[in-house]
């Protein structure tokens, strides 16, 4: 082989080597770039079991469906954009929910008809805590809360949603009040606004018929 032919072959090999280096470096950069972390996905990631149950991860959170494809659990942002944990029964109805509704924390338990039966939350105006129990009509029947004046109170309500009895306290002293169906106070016991401590019983017109101490 002549020296000229040899030089020509070497030149071809050198050009090929440069191309290979460029390709290899490109592949290396690609692998390095994608090896740091999987690229964010814009579509949901779904894990499905043989039973048909599935878990779906979207940008809004994680949704778990049972084999009947009913949503049983959601953790993430709900359809209103509220952070939420929702647990649903086998019919797909939400039975328990812990969420932030307009940034206020709420824990709710629902009956099978979807009625709110027990709740624990912070009030929207004062951020005071409240625990309430409701009947099947979603009428308030019992509540333990801190009221708008900052006083702690336990209240019991009739089926009309009106308070029948409440036990509360300010810093001077507590008081217990019992009302009848018409909301007339019939019994007061404890510390009165003037500082007196006692008990009185009133008739249906709200007039005291017995009081102690005199």
């Amino acid at each position: 082989m002549s020296e000229e032919a040899l030089v020509a072959r070497i030149a071809r090999l050198e050009r090929a080597a440069r191309r290979e280096r460029i390709v290899a470096l490109g592949v290396l950069m690609l692998v390095l770039g994608s090896a740091q972390a999987p690229a964010p996905s814009s579509g949901p990631v779904i894990v499905r079991a043989a039973s048909g149950a599935s878990a779906t991860l979207t940008a809004q959170g994680l949704v778990v469906r049972d084999a009947s494809n009913r949503v049983r659990a959601l953790v993430g942002l709900d359809s209103n954009g509220y952070p939420s944990v929702d647990l649903s029964d086998a019919t797909g109805r939400i039975r328990e929910s812990m969420d932030l509704i307009q940034d206020l924390p709420v824990l709710r338990q629902f009956d099978a008809a979807g009625k709110r039966r027990a709740e624990m939350f912070l009030a929207s105006d004062t951020s005071n805590g409240e625990f309430v129990i409701k009947d099947a009509s979603e009428t308030l029947r019992a509540a333990l809360f801190i009221g708008t004046k900052g006083l702690p109170e336990l209240s019991l309500y009739g089926s009309d949603g009106k308070a029948r009895a409440y036990l509360s306290s300010d810093d001077d002293g507590p008081y217990l009040v019992m009302n009848d169906r018409t909301a007339t106070t019939r019994v007061v016991m404890g510390t009165y606004t003037g500082g007196k401590v006692g008990i009185d019983i009133r008739n249906a017109a709200g007039t005291a018929v017995w009081s102690q101490p005199p």
Partner: protein, 226 residues
């Protein structure tokens, strides 16, 4: 200038040999890296977080610790998993990223000295103050607590150390003002003034009798029945 213009063929051959070695090293490195970071398509296991992002910028990230959801502004709004302290936890945060509701297990010691994890649900106001709480206490009894904006307890429903259920109402000084409780014999209601003196008592007495008494600020009975 082209490197191939080097007139010495021996030098150019040596350079080619070195280049080949380099190329082999690069290929081997890429292969090792690809194997090390490969994600299985059927096993469902990965060591790297899985991130799902939508057009708004909101995202959900699944890691070995749990799932975290961030809103379009990048604020963490929801976390469910094992938190940075190692506690199983579900945290909900408001639009400012402030934690507002948290349900978790907190390790501690029970009253018998054994290590237990206490379930707690806490609701926080916008200032991060604990305002409502439901949990198991050191005796593993359930209790519901309501605090004011200063985190001072104002109402509580719980079991006493003796095991009796009790509702307590507290003043702004966190001192008990009223409590309604019962033992197996009978219930009782006690009302106290600012000084901690019992002013009203109604219900069962320790001697088994049932009645009612009102006392003055000096703790002297001013009326009693029967």
């Amino acid at each position: 200038m082209e490197r191939s213009s080097d007139p010495d063929p021996a030098v150019r051959v040596a350079r080619l040999e070195a280049s080949r070695l380099l190329s082999r090293a690069v290929v081997a490195g890429v292969a090792i890296l690809a194997f090390a970071t490969a994600q299985t398509s059927s096993g469902g296991s990965t060591s790297a977080p899985i991130v799902v992002r939508d057009a708004s910028g909101a995202s959900a990230t699944l890691t070995a610790q749990g799932v975290t959801v961030r809103d379009a502004a990048g604020n963490r709004r929801m976390f469910a998993g094992v938190d940075s302290d190692g506690f199983p936890s579900v945290d909900l945060s408001d639009a400012k990223g402030q934690l507002r509701q948290s349900m978790y297990l907190l390790p501690g010691l029970a009253d018998n000295g054994s290590k237990v994890e206490f379930p707690i649900l806490r609701q926080f106001d916008a200032n991060g103050k604990r305002r409502a709480e439901m949990r198991l206490d050191v005796a593993q009894d359930g209790e519901l607590l309501l605090n004011d904006a200063s985190e001072t307890i104002r109402a509580a429903l719980f079991r006493t150390k003796g095991g009796d259920p009790q509702l307590g109402l507290y003043g702004t000084d966190a001192k008990l003002r009223a409590f309604f409780s019962t033992d197996d014999d009978s219930p009782y209601l006690v009302m106290r003034d600012r000084g901690g003196t019992n002013r009203v008592y109604a219900g069962g007495y320790t001697d088994g009798s049932i009645g009612m008494a009102i006392r003055n600020a000096a703790n002297v009975v001013v009326w009693k029945a029967p």
